[in-house]
């Protein structure tokens, strides 16, 4: 009985236990659970409307929260600020700093009282509030939009703050890195590459802001994006009430060049004392507008390499495997004008070069090897998830609608985005990597401890680490020239290297033809004829397009003139004297006495891995010309002319003489001459050179 009891009890217990053990064993922990059926991903809806003044309105209705946001977005071509760099950084805050009726404290108080926000930026403005305060908000927004007062006092405040900010950024590795890569990639003469300095901030006047507002804040280039607790009809009516009186205007348009990649890989360092990490970026420009057919494949490729996902190759390699960094990533940025590719990480000093090796390895691997299908699948899943998550915010639907409009995307771009993503193949990924990424034409940049210099040399094509300051300016190292080197010897060496002082000084004339490439993709024909015979000296330059002369310049011993699509204007004074000196004598650099130039040998400068003898030719108020002679080839490599004028401030004109070639006459001429002045860039490419040609002397007639 007892035994039976025990057996019974055992069975009972087993019976009791069994269900619970079987319940537990339902949890198979060894495998990840299966996903349920995929949920439907629905894009939010948007409505597109427009006012008679051209203002386009995008409304996304979403009543989850009782609030509405209003965003004005202006679309204009990139702005080059030149010697006023920094104006756009201050613009928004200054425009938000008071109206004709309300000084700043009053305006601030009224906005804050509503619990609302209004902010302004050079590309528009944004306001948001609870639905019940909509009218008050829009009234304040339109007041800021139509009658900002740009108070002088507030400009001075913002300028002081910006100057303080500049000082602070001199010790910020990430800020320095962003300035450096911008300057290298786009160049300072491009809107994307400008650098704000204390000098440019000092030049800002209230008028600059007033003019910018007057020129660019127009409804016909604006989108008003309305998101939240409001229906399209109400949004339209309110937009009409508050922005209907906004007047159209003509907006200046400028077409900008897309800067090119560097010709070789350049390694650039900003030494920063006391750095415990190197801020590394490998970067170059990429030509890919947002509506490119390759854009989605490129984003997949970048995601596998180093996009947001933790399983990106750079993150896995540099962090999880090597522990070099807290995070390594890459960005592939499309842009209507010029985009960029950047791979980056902050790493400890000792592993700076090892990290660059790994970056280059991963970049080359994604170009050279097809990605495995599993990685591609993970990445697509990840990107699908990101897309779905982004829809949680109603602003996403508005952004989609805006992008379709401003980037000229197909109307179904986002509704078919997931299909397009899913269609990206292994071949697509490798193709875009190969077509758009160039590790042999990339800037390898580093902001960090100077001690890493030696270890970086091996990465640059010419074995040199270029040094820059916190504003992206080359750190020039200047040393004394060797004993015996003089201004005369350097200039004589130049002429001897290109054919001999004697030969060149005896030239009777030269005729050159070629092409000129101006900014904006314009190309013109170039003809230059110079007669060096005493008594009849003259130089004639013409730029033409389809046989039509656009620019003509004539210089003779008796005077000169220029024609630029209009009446002749005589060349006079210093301008004439300089032109006569440069153009009427084939060995003009030796003849400094006519103009009364003072000459000075400044020494030897190292720049981008080359050494140059630097000679300064100078006459107060007339000319300040610095000439760089390549120490190896002896030839004149570039000049820098500095002019001062009241209107333009300081103007620097640089001229580069590239690719000296002997076309058969024993004299070497530069086949490419690139002149840069402010934002203007002009490249002359020589097609033919004739020495001692027959010259039609009527070219030099002054009447």
């Amino acid at each position: 009985m007892k035994l039976l009891n025990y057996i019974f009890l055992a069975v009972l217990m087993a019976g009791l236990l069994l269900p619970s053990t079987s319940l537990l064993s339902q949890v198979d922990r060894s495998q990840a659970p299966e996903a349920g059926p995929a949920p439907l991903i629905e894009l939010g809806e948007s409505t597109l409307l427009s006012l008679p003044n051209g203002l386009q309105i995008i409304v996304v209705e979403n009543h989850r929260l009782p609030k509405v946001s209003w965003t004005l977005s202006l679309e204009y071509s990139p702005i080059f600020e030149g010697n006023k760099a920094g104006m756009l950084d201050l613009f928004g805050e200054l425009m938000r700093s008071g109206t004709e009726n309300k000084p700043k404290p009053e305006l601030d108080e009224e906005i804050d009282f509503l619990g609302a926000h209004i902010s302004v930026n050079p590309k528009g403005m944004r306001g948001s509030s609870l639905t019940k305060h909509t009218n008050e908000l829009l009234s304040l927004m339109s007041e800021v939009l139509f009658s900002p007062s740009f108070p002088e006092k507030e400009l001075n405040r913002l300028r002081t703050q910006a100057l303080s900010g500049l000082l602070a950024s001199e010790s910020s590795p990430s800020e320095i890195s962003s300035v450096l890569t911008r300057v290298l990639k786009y160049g300072e003469a491009h809107p994307y590459g400008e650098v704000t300095t204390s000098k440019s901030l000092d030049l800002l006047t209230r008028e600059d802001f007033v003019t910018f507002h007057k020129t660019y804040f127009k409804p016909n280039i604006a989108y008003l994006i309305v998101v939240g607790d409001i229906d399209p009809n109400t949004a339209y009516a309110k937009a009409n009430t508050f922005f209907g009186a906004w007047k159209r205007g003509d907006i200046p348009y400028k077409r900008w060049d897309s800067p090119a990649r560097p010709q070789t890989t350049r390694t650039c360092l900003v030494p920063l004392e006391g750095s415990v990490q190197s801020v590394i970026k490998l970067t170059h420009v990429v030509s890919m507008p947002p509506n490119s057919d390759d854009a989605i494949a490129a984003s997949v490729m970048n995601s596998i390499l180093g996009g947001g996902a933790f399983s990106g190759r750079l993150m896995q390699n540099l962090r999880e495997d090597k522990a070099f960094t807290y995070g390594a990533r890459s960005i592939f940025k499309t842009d209507p004008l010029v985009g960029s590719f950047t791979a980056y990480a902050d790493v400890r000093n000792e592993v700076t070069d090892s990290s660059i090796v790994e970056f280059l390895y991963e970049i080359r691997r994604i170009m050279d090897e097809p990605v495995d299908s599993a990685s591609l699948a993970v990445t697509k899943n990840y990107m699908t998830g990101s897309f779905a998550r982004s829809l949680e915010r109603p602003t996403t639907a508005a952004r989609f609608a805006l992008n379709i409009e401003r980037y000229n995307l197909p109307k179904d771009y986002y509704s078919t985005y997931l299909e397009k993503l899913s269609a990206v193949t292994i071949e697509d990924v490798q193709r875009v990597a190969k077509n758009y990424i160039r590790p042999d034409q990339i800037f390898i940049t580093c902001v960090g401890n100077e001690s890493v210099i030696e270890s970086l040399k091996k990465f640059s094509t010419n074995g040199v680490v270029e040094l820059y300051d916190a504003y992206g300016q080359p750190l020039i190292e200047r040393t004394a020239a060797s004993a015996g080197v003089t201004v005369e010897s350097v200039i004589n060496d130049h002429y001897n290297a290109i054919g001999g002082v004697n030969t060149i000084s005896k030239l009777k004339g030269v005729a050159r033809t070629g092409s000129i490439e101006m900014g904006g993709g314009m190309t013109l024909n170039f003809v230059h004829t110079a007669n060096y015979k005493k008594g009849r000296r003259g130089a004639h330059t013409s730029f033409s397009i389809s046989g039509q002369e656009v620019v003509t310049n004539v210089v003779t011993d008796n005077g000169g003139y220029s024609v630029q699509m209009g009446p002749r204007s005589p060349t006079e004074g210093n301008e004439l004297a300089i032109a006569q000196w440069e153009e009427l004598d084939p060995t003009y650099l030796l003849n400094t006495s006519d103009l009364g130039l003072k000459t000075e040998l400044l020494g030897v400068e190292q720049l981008n891995g080359k050494s140059y003898h630097v000679v300064k030719l100078h006459k107060e108020g007339v000319i300040n010309l610095t000439c760089y002679f390549d120490k190896m080839s002896k030839m004149l490599s570039s000049t820098k002319a500095i002019t001062e004028s009241e209107n333009e401030g300081t103007m620097v004109v640089t001229t580069k003489y590239n690719n000296y070639l002997d076309l058969g006459d024993g004299i070497l001429f530069p086949m490419e001459v690139i002149t840069t002045a402010g934002t203007q860039r002009m490249a002359i490419r020589i097609g033919s050179v004739t020495i001692n040609p027959d010259i039609d002397l009527t070219l030099f007639n002054l009447n």
Binding site: A32, G165, E170
Partner: protein
Amino acid sequence: MKYLLSCIAFFTAITSLLAQTATSTSINFTEFDLNNGLHVILHEDHSTPIVAVTVMYHVGSKNEDPSRTGMAHFFEHLLFEGSENIERGEFDHYVENAGGVLNANTSQDRTFYYELLPSNQLELGLWLESERMLHAKIQQIGIDTQNEVVKEEKRQRVDNRPYGTMIAETMDACYDVHPYQWTPIGSMEHLDAATHADFMDFYNTFYVPNNATLSIAGDLNIDEAKSLVRKYFSSIPKGTKAIPRPTVTEPTRTEERRSIVYGKDRLPVVIQAYPIPAQGTPDYYAVDMLNQVLSTGSSSRLNKAVVDEKQLALYCGAFSFGLEDPGVTFAFAMVNMGVEPSEVEDAMNEEIEKMKTDLISDRELQKLKNQIESQFVSSNSTMAGIAEELANYHTYFGDANLINTEIDRYLAITPEDIKRAANTYYNANSRATIYFLYEEK
């Protein structure tokens, strides 16, 4: 300029002004405890097909052994290394392959893990988090790798970042005995000294269901979610060890502590740190409202006086660092170039003195209320945010419904309360004042 603003954003982000809460429509949720002590909170919302799976462990740097600072944060890194059933490195892979994201962060008071997933992957999130809680695998290779990664994190976020040491220096000046004297990143020497046994002990002590809150928000069905939670979490054994919590109280100071910290950042920063009561206490809300008068919006008093009118600083404001034990409030300014920090400090004091002598006006009070209403409406707009806030309110106050009701505590504050808070807590004798100055080489 932009990066400076991001410094400020970083600074203000860690200080919770008005712990974000409540919307106009209240947040509904279901909560229950498992037998092992795990607290579970579920919020159902079908607007987007996503789900946030989060676990908040009630352990932060204040629970650390003073000879092992940085342990809680380091441990957070280790818990991505894998488990008995998840190979090293596969944790991220599972989530990203499912179309999700994951991360974690560690504060003085708690450690928070989350996965944001498509809603059909809820079960995956539960499996991952239950693996992490039940039997995480802590191997030497992971310890060695993450030791280096954490050092890089410290270099990047503290040592090589402008003003990166500011918070650590300030907390050090404010606390002598309480563990808030060190920050979550901790000491690298301590991490180097930690042994495998230390980690296992930490895991067995703190990473137990009775010290955790599982908070899930999104496109889910409550009943289904409940049974899935039980399936993965009910078999996890309850912790058997006592969970150490600091019991020390920082003594009240009677004399101001002043110091200067020299570094490589060019613009001076002035910080005044005042001890305040623990978050959730009535006076905590009064101090928070006081700070709002001083710092929220361009018309706030410190901005208006110090930045706009006197033009002494790039930025000036005051924020509470709300903590579970009594925390601190910072009044701080980034000084314009060429301006003496003492001049800025005087200007800050002048505004604070006004708060002590005068009541705020009716209009200013109404402005505060409008701002608070607007902030409460704007918060909790994402599933991830809602899951975290529900977990916060439960962990700290045992009342997740504060997500709907905390606004009333703010709105109950009167001008008299604000004036009293200024007199009681903005006390020059109990504060620590620090100048961060540039050291000329």
